[in-house]
């Protein structure tokens, strides 16, 4: 099962390598990882997507929590949450495909962020599956380069 785990940690040198070292050392996998400062500059928020059965996910969250520089670990996928990923795609856009590319971008509510005579650079934001979907659709047209941010996620506020 896929799990999205959010980790608050001290924004200090070496902390990220404690997290990644934990994953490699214990044979856990990381599908994606993204990290940046929070409102409080001394604290970073790291979102990681991993896979494993219940026992493995339990170990992952406990082991993360055990790291001294980790402040809080939440398995966001335990409850309702929103997740987003952004992708930049450079796709071939020559005379005969330009219109088609624009149409696809439109359907995915993407934006063209860079234009050249033979290509567009496109920005699309959405769930990981939406990002995967546009990649799959543009692939036959000719993707020259892609960069993905990895998933970030946030639990939904309680409705009460």
């Amino acid at each position: 099962m896929k799990h999205t785990i959010s980790v608050l940690l001290q924004n200090k040198p070496g902390v990220l390598s404690r997290v990644t070292g934990l994953f490699s050392g214990r044979g856990f996998n990381i599908e994606s990882l993204s990290v940046a400062e929070t409102l409080e500059p001394s604290i970073s928020c790291l979102t990681l997507v991993t896979r494993g059965d219940e026992a493995i996910i339990e170990q992952i969250t406990k082991q993360l929590h055990k790291l001294i520089d980790v402040i809080k670990v939440t398995d966001i996928s335990d409850s309702e949450y929103v997740e987003r990923e952004m992708v930049l795609i450079r796709v071939k856009a020559e005379a005969q495909t330009r219109a088609e590319v624009l149409r696809v971008i439109d359907i995915f509510r993407g934006k063209v962020v860079d234009v050249s005579p033979k290509s567009y650079a496109v920005e699309v934001t959405g769930s990981a599956s939406k990002v995967q979907a546009i990649i799959d659709i543009l692939k036959p047209i000719g993707i020259q380069e892609i960069v993905r941010t990895g998933t970030i996620a946030m639990a939904r506020a309680s409705k009460k």
């Binding site: 001290q10 040198p13 070496g14 390598s17 404690r18 070292g21 050392g25 026992a55 339990e58 170990q59 406990k62 082991q63 929590h65 055990k66 001294i68 520089d69 980790v70 402040i71």
Partner: protein, 566 residues
């Protein structure tokens, strides 16, 4: 505020923590610290290899329960310490390791004797620090000691660039340390305690499975109280020896790969396993699906990651062992459901079954005339030291025989490398223990292979008038590996025959120590007596039955009931 040098500040931090002895080896990056230590009341023991420094600090920590401290120089000094740091990490031993580092402006430049020791030791320390700014020096050291000794203890490394140590710093008063992100759980959840205790009252065949956590949290008395109150049998892991008196009728000795027949059979047939400060290591469980297959499992541990890591636990209790056991004892004392006589009596059939197992396959060995059996040597050591010595060990058969045949009745009289199994641990650890308790008899039970890994520390023992005794069970083999080859590799002794071994008697003499040798059973007692009466470091070279194996043995990956017996 009055300013002092970084080195002075470090020394004051050590004094603040009550440190009297540290173990070190100098080099360019730590000359300042060595210089400052010379004027302090702290004994700075000069070892002969950095691995020895960290093992010695570890030995001191295990027998005292205090934090051990080692001081190493940058680069090769620090990397030489890594094996010993990993050793302490695997066994949760509280250490603070201070390493010198090149000056901050040079860090990252491949400067002379620069290594990224913080990077290297990240996976084998509880935590580590590089102090880049002198104003963080004091708070970092205080935090390092706090982390090392609290929660599940472990080694903490502090890397100290030379320029940082040379700066002048403030020395603010020490305040209680509170870390937002590090707050180990000491107190058990009362609901879980109640659940556990009620379960215990229902059990017919309970077993207490005791690990190193009981020693680390000084919970042996509480554990003993619980076991006797409920008349429950106890087994200990290699790390848990001494957590419950080995001579007590309720003790089944050690469990696991080289555990007693009784202990392994009891666990396999138990309906309730109460794990206290143990971690279900593969050397204990054997094949996982056959481990305690009928038992409900209660697990007390201060480290949540230990719980349900290898074996699914039914009633987890995250807490310090001492606190949890105290709460359990109190629950029974206050419970109207608990009738001591009745419960004790209800366990008698179980204890009788256990007694039958012991009768069937007691811990033992075959006596072979005047050939020295290693088990006999350990029994004699036990007898002649009245079970009261501090025993450290090397690794291999020697270690297992010591664990099986010395009766540890008290905690902290046993220091062995359990989790990592580090050959070369025993001698430096013995020195650390002896520095802490000069009045006690300290014996390193050694193998002829392992002892050569840190034999240089004989010089340290001599220099500091630290008369440790070394009992080499000399089979002229890397015996434990040879045993596996005998049993599972068609007796192909690849790489386990040491064709050249030094004359250990002469070797001892070369260091100014005393060397004694026994080649016959009838000589063993006299050699031990003479060693114990000698106020000098002594090597006892016991030439033992060469191909003796350690039994019982659960082959790796087999169920713990599938034991090979004597």
């Amino acid at each position: 505020m009055e300013k002092i040098s970084g080195s002075q500040a470090i020394i004051r931090c050590l004094q603040e923590e009550g440190i009297k002895t540290i173990f070190g080896f100098p080099g360019g990056a730590v000359i300042d610290l060595f210089d400052a230590l010379m004027d302090s009341d702290i004994t700075n023991v000069l070892v002969r290899h950095e691995q020895g420094a960290v093992h010695a600090a570890d030995g001191l920590a295990r027998v005292t329960g205090e934090v051990g401290v080692a001081l190493l120089t940058s680069g090769p000094g620090a990397t030489n310490g890594v094996t010993a740091i990993a050793t302490a990490y695997m066994d949760s031993i509280p250490l603070v390791i201070l390493t010198g580092q090149v000056p901050t402006p040079l860090i990252g430049n491949d400067a002379f004797q620069e290594v990224d020791i913080v990077g290297i030791t990240r996976p084998c320390t509880k935590h580590n620090y590089l102090v880049k700014d002198a104003k963080d020096l004091v708070s970092t050291l205080r935090e390092a000691f706090h982390i090392a000794r609290t929660g599940r203890p472990g080694p903490v490394l502090v890397d100290l660039p030379k320029d940082v140590v040379a700066k002048m710093v403030d020395f603010p008063e020490k305040k209680p340390i509170r870390m937002q992100n590090y707050q180990p759980t000491y107190e058990p959840h009362p609901g879980q305690i109640e659940k556990a205790c009620k379960k215990i009252l229902k059990a017919k065949n309970p077993v207490l499975y005791v690990g190193g956590g009981v020693i680390l949290s000084n919970a042996n008395e509480e554990l003993t109280e619980l076991a006797r109150k409920l008349n429950m049998p106890v087994t200990m892991t290699l790390m848990g020896l001494g957590g419950f008196p080995g001579s007590d009728p309720l003790s089944m000795g050690m469990l696991g790969m080289h555990g007693s027949y009784t202990a392994n059979m009891a666990v396999a047939n138990s309906d309730l396993l109460i794990a206290v400060g143990a971690r279900f290591d593969d050397r204990v469980t054997g094949r996982l699906d056959a481990f305690a297959p009928h038992a409900t499992i209660i697990h007390i541990d201060i480290d949540p990651t230990s719980i349900s890591k290898n074996v699914k636990v039914d009633i987890p209790i995250v807490a310090d062992c001492k606190h949890a056991l105290t709460a359990m004892n109190a629950w029974f004392n206050n419970s109207s459901d608990f009738n001591r006589e009745q419960v004790a009596a209800s366990h008698e059939p179980w204890l009788a079954t256990i007694g039958e197992w012991t009768k069937k396959h007691p811990m033992g060995y075959l006596d072979e005339g005047d050939i020295i059996k290693p088990q006999y040597v350990i029994q004699k050591l036990d007898e002649l030291t009245h079970g009261d010595a501090i025993i450290t060990t090397e690794v291999g058969q020697n270690q297992m025989w010591a664990a099986q045949f010395y009766k540890f009745n008290k905690p902290r009289q046993w220091a062995t490398s359990g989790g990592l199994g580090t050959m070369g641990y025993g001698l430096p650890a013995a020195i650390g223990a002896k520095m802490a308790f000069p009045e006690k008899t300290v014996i390193d039970v050694a193998g002829d292979g392992s002892i050569q890994m840190n034999i240089q520390e004989l010089a340290t023992a001599k220099q500091y008038k630290c008369p440790v005794k070394i009992a080499i069970l000399n089979n002229n083999y890397l015996g434990m590996v040879r045993q596996w080859q005998e049993l599972f590799y068609n007796k192909r002794y690849a790489g386990t025959v040491m064709e050249v071994t030094p004359d250990f008697v002469m070797l001892a003499q070369a260091y100014g120590a005393v060397g004694l040798r026994a080649t016959k059973k009838s000589e063993v007692e006299a050699v031990i007596k003479e060693a114990l009466a000698t106020d000098n470091t002594v090597i006892m070279d016991f030439v033992i039955a060469r191909e003796e194996c350690v039994f019982p043995m659960v082959p790796a990956g087999k169920a713990t009931t599938e034991m090979l017996l004597v």
